[in-house]
Amino acid sequence: MNGRRRFLRDFLALLCSGGAIGGFLKLLPGSAHAKETVRTGKWYGYGVSVDKCIGCGRCMEACKAENNVPKEPFFFRTWVERYIIRKNGETAVRTIDPGAEPVPEAALDKSILRSFFVPKLCNQCADPPCVQVCPVGATWRTEDGVVLVNEKTCIGCRYCIQACPYGARYLSPATHTADKCTFCYHRISVGQLPACVEVCPTQARIFGDLNAAASPLSRFLRMNKIHVLKPGLNTEPKVYYANLDGEVR
């Protein structure tokens, strides 16, 4: 092998290996700053104004009625958590039970430092870990940014339930497939609001298209300091919280 040929070979090898490394690096996320790719068309999101929630539970009931979610208290597409943070640092949390008769609260419980309600639902993540792990592609993110479950091909392995950091999924006892909030896809696709937003008496829940110039959601995002749940997991949630307390996970 003469010098020129050897050079050519080495050069080609370098190109190939460089290409291989480059291709591998493409797997890494590009920029630390760009959050989501700019989109055209609808890109649905959701706002929760923690300060407005009165914990009445209408949303939980409406969701179960609208979406045929089993009545038993083990299956929820949305729920409301009540936080009581006491002066001694203890934090007590529970899921409210909308059917229960309200227990009269002591007029003034001096041990309470602060207390509030937090509505929860599927965060419809832009980078959903549940979709990543589904072995059969039975859950996926639609073009308009809603994570859906295909109940005809879901095999019921429950890997997505394990992968969801927010506990938003359950196994439907009726279909034996994974189930979750769809933003009421059948409603929003005909211009209606999700049932929970529809019935919320205080506008603590706001739904809309994140690409719309003027909408209750875009105004909500403009006027408030916004937080999402578990941002460290890089799931890019599209359920945005205003005035979220640090104790909420």
Binding site: I54, G55, A65, V199
Partner: protein, 254 residues
């Protein structure tokens, strides 16, 4: 038997045949499987159609206006203006399709209204809340308040009618003996249009100092005399008093 090339060992040749047969069977099977079973994209499109075809139970905020225009208009002008009809009356899609077939619920019990309006320390301040045990027990809410235009039936005399939480808080605080009007001047109009005309609030340190300054001259009142005293020049002079002490339940070191 097929003649294999001289060099290939007999065992390898046989395994190759098995491999080729297996691959062929799999390949044929793959071709024969219909596309909807192999393509997630086809499956997704179908699933979206199924999802969109699911029936609605809630008719939406505007569905009721067509037939119930009067009540709808009334609600729009009152404090319940942002509530959907279905928040209280429940899902009504079937009623909109055939009004005679199903009738939406008309919740009339106290237990329904208090799901939103019972006092609960987790509820945001300012949200109208009552103590169900103390507030006209056993009387149905709708007897006094029209749910489509809820407001107090008569102009309230006491501040506590609306500011129950503050009243309850003050009742167990060091300021229990102070009248609301000691610190706030509430014009009569405030009781009629509470958000239009607001009561006054103390503006400066000196206001609190009238009772709490150590050199106060306000000693006529017995209460002011017994109030804890501080040196206004030394004690937190950078701040106004209510930045540290909530006036309705002043925090003090005991």
């Amino acid at each position: 038997m097929v003649k294999f090339p001289e060099k290939m060992p007999d065992s390898l040749a046989r395994l190759l045949v098995v491999f080729v047969v297996l691959t062929a069977v799999l390949a044929i099977a793959w071709v024969m499987i219909p596309t909807p079973m192999k393509s997630v994209h086809v499956q997704w499109d179908n699933a979206i159609l199924r999802e969109k075809a699911k029936p609605m139970r809630y008719a939406g905020a505007h569905a009721c206006e067509e037939c119930h225009g009067e009540i709808y208009g009334k609600k729009k002008a009152g404090y319940h203006r942002d509530l959907s009809c279905e928040t209280c009356h429940g899902p009504a899609k079937t009623h909109t399709e055939d009004p005679d077939k199903t009738k939406p619920a008309i919740p009339a019990t106290r237990s329904f209204c208090v799901q939103c309006h019972a006092y609960n320390p987790s509820r945001p301040r300012g949200f109208p809340q009552i103590n169900p045990q103390g507030h006209n027990p056993l009387k149905p809410c709708a007897g006094c308040h029209n749910p489509h235009d809820p407001k107090p039936p008569t102009t309230p005399k006491e501040c506590s009618a609306c500011h129950g939480e503050i009243a309850r808080t003050k009742a167990v605080s060091h300021h229990v003996q102070l009248e609301c009007t000691t610190c706030h001047q509430a014009p009569q109009q405030h009781k009629i249009t509470p958000r239009g005309v607001k009561p006054t609030k103390p503006q400066n340190r000196e206001f609190c100092g009238k009772c709490h300054a150590k050199d106060t001259r306000e000693t006529r009142e017995k209460l002011a005399k017994s109030a804890p005293k501080i040196d206004m020049a030394e004690h937190g002079e950078k701040y106004v008093c209510w930045q540290c002490h909530y006036p309705h339940s002043p925090e003090v070191e005991n």
